[in-house]
Symmetry: C2
Subunit: 315 residues, 2 copies
DNA sequence: ACGAGTATTTGACTTTTGTCAGCGGCCTCG
DNA sequence: CGAGGCCGCTGACAAAAGTCAAATACTCGT
């Protein structure tokens, strides 16, 4: 007599309900439990990723603008979040779309790099549960406390949890108080190995940070408003995985970058699928820099941002 | 003002309901239609494959027997349909499992060969709808009227319809009354090209036929009971895509095979993923022949059949 | 332009599903 | 050994989803 574990009952209930199309009361009779329990098991099955429900994202790629941007920017694929009045608020829509596209693009066995920011955290927050095998999720940049609770390690951990994947955190601060200490820490075997393994990723998920004086990096205390303003005057245009880039998407030669523990920008550029998600309209300049720097192969933006990019890059 | 096509409304309703988790009445309010319409659109979205609901099939591979069979038979993967009293009737379970595994194994752009039989038709019958892109479904064997309505072209057409794939039928009878006519028909350009394209398939779905005097091939009138009995005495062991094979899984040298219009057995063997689904317990001998003939890389059987195979192949 | 025929939409009703307080078993610790 | 706490299951009720006949909006041919 095989002992039926709770997991097996859950799995079987999900199978009968979703695959055979039985009603909950029929499943209950079949498994000899109450219907209420069936409802409970079904919820757990969805939350554990045993059951997957997905919807085609073609709604967001079937716009002409998406096609035009793919050609003009030379990226693989673009998704456009519309802003007409029949649509939801883009702030709510974009993370959901990003999560759906993300799940669509990843495969068993992938190694996925996750960077840092409000956008990434929101994506993690709405990420459906899935039961992928052999996925590894690695953290692309060091840690930083945050006034919101969007710490880099949390993003990585949460996404790994939802995918039933292995999560690898980077146990180092994002930014150190001296260049010397940062260099020494980077040279530590445990950190060095982890940074060295980043080129093995085949997928990256991130946004691009702004360089205003109230940008995320400033709010989190990595830079003072004055330092950020100075960087801006020196030509800073955006932030990728905690590192400041110039208008051409190249790493700035500055003290902050030297004090930073994060994925090497060339390593990031070498990742085959680089999914960039940009929510805020004021990220235009940073996004232009990121695109020039080849940081996006898959891009998710609002229609208004898409139009501005089109004007900028179509000539 | 963009004109909202019915398809777009359906797609958007599905998006809001399944991805954002809104209730039907909230979706209705958002899209300014009645809740009943939302329910209708959601059904259509599921039936058109815009929404995908799938359940992990690991329940059926987590048996020890499956592992052992994979080793003993040298096949890639085995799924076992249990027959304990908590389980559904295998006759109902197997097609559902086969359809789920099938959907799991195929990818965008695949070319899929479909053979013929009651089993395959039942699988087609419960196949979920999906919105795969660039899939082609080709018919592996000629047509034959049937006392049940399991004609080969129907299997192909139905599966293609459900996957939103292109279906390519073989417009020839499975069996002709003379060898000469069969040879001439095979030489016809339209038929020849189609048969020649079968090695381009990367996936095959079929079962194996029996050689009893009431087997499918006899019931459909392709062979008389006497002819089948004679073939049995000559060493026939099973039927693959309408063609009779011997106990080693090799093509029999017989009149029936020469009168047959179907995929070349070597072409079938060359297909990378060959998914064989066997429902009936009396298919033991034919299945052994099919396995010896390398016709299965992915196998779905009942636990009792699995045990018999294990006894046969473990030594 | 008109009307027959077809497809879409809806309100009202029925069925199915989600929820949660409370019951009961079981394990732990005093 | 018994009390306390935890976990899982269930019955009963509330909420949500499915269904269908009837109404309305389209389409196409004449």
């Amino acid at each position: 007599m095989p002992i039926k574990s709770a997991d097996q009952v859950m799995h079987k209930a999900a199978w009968l309900y979703y695959m055979h199309g039985l009603r909950q009361d029929e499943v209950a009779r079949q498994l000899d439990i109450s219907r209420a329990s069936v409802a409970l098991y079904l919820r757990r099955a969805r939350e554990s990723g045993i059951v997957n429900i997905s919807t085609s994202t073609s709604l967001f790629t079937h716009e002409n603008l998406a096609r035009e941007l793919e050609d003009a920017l030379g990226v693989v694929s673009v998704w456009i979040v519309p802003e007409d009045r029949l649509a939801l608020d883009p702030a709510a829509e974009m993370p959901v779309l990003a999560a759906a596209v993300f799940l669509d693009l990843i495969n068993k066995g992938d190694r996925i790099g996750i960077a840092w920011g409000k956008t990434v955290y929101h994506i993690a927050d709405v990420m459906p549960f899935a039961d992928l095998n052999g996925i590894t999720v690695v953290q692309l940049c060091g840690n930083l406390g945050s006034p919101y609770s969007y710490r880099p390690d949390q993003c990585t951990t949460e996404i790994a949890r939802r995918l039933n994947a292995e999560g690898i955190n980077l146990y180092a601060p994002l930014v150190l108080s001296s260049e010397r200490l940062a260099a020494e820490l980077r040279a530590e075997p445990v950190i060095r190995e982890q940074l060295a393994s980043i080129p093995e990723c085949n997928f990256a998920l991130y946004s691009v940070g702004g360089i205003e004086e109230d940008s995320h990096l400033v709010k989190c205390g990595a830079l003072t408003p004055a330092e950020m303003a100075a960087l801006g005057r020196q030509g800073a245009a955006g932030v990728i995985a905690g590192q400041v880039i110039d208008a051409d998407g190249q790493l700035m030669d500055c003290a902050h970058n030297r004090r930073c523990i994060s994925a090497d920008l060339d390593s990031i550029r070498a990742i085959p699928k680089r999914m960039m998600v940009v929510q805020e309209d004021n990220k235009y300049q940073p996004l232009v820099a990121a695109i020039k720097g080849q940081f996006a192969s898959h891009l998710i933006v609002t229609s208004s941002m898409g139009k501005r990019l089109m004007e900028r890059f179509s000539k």
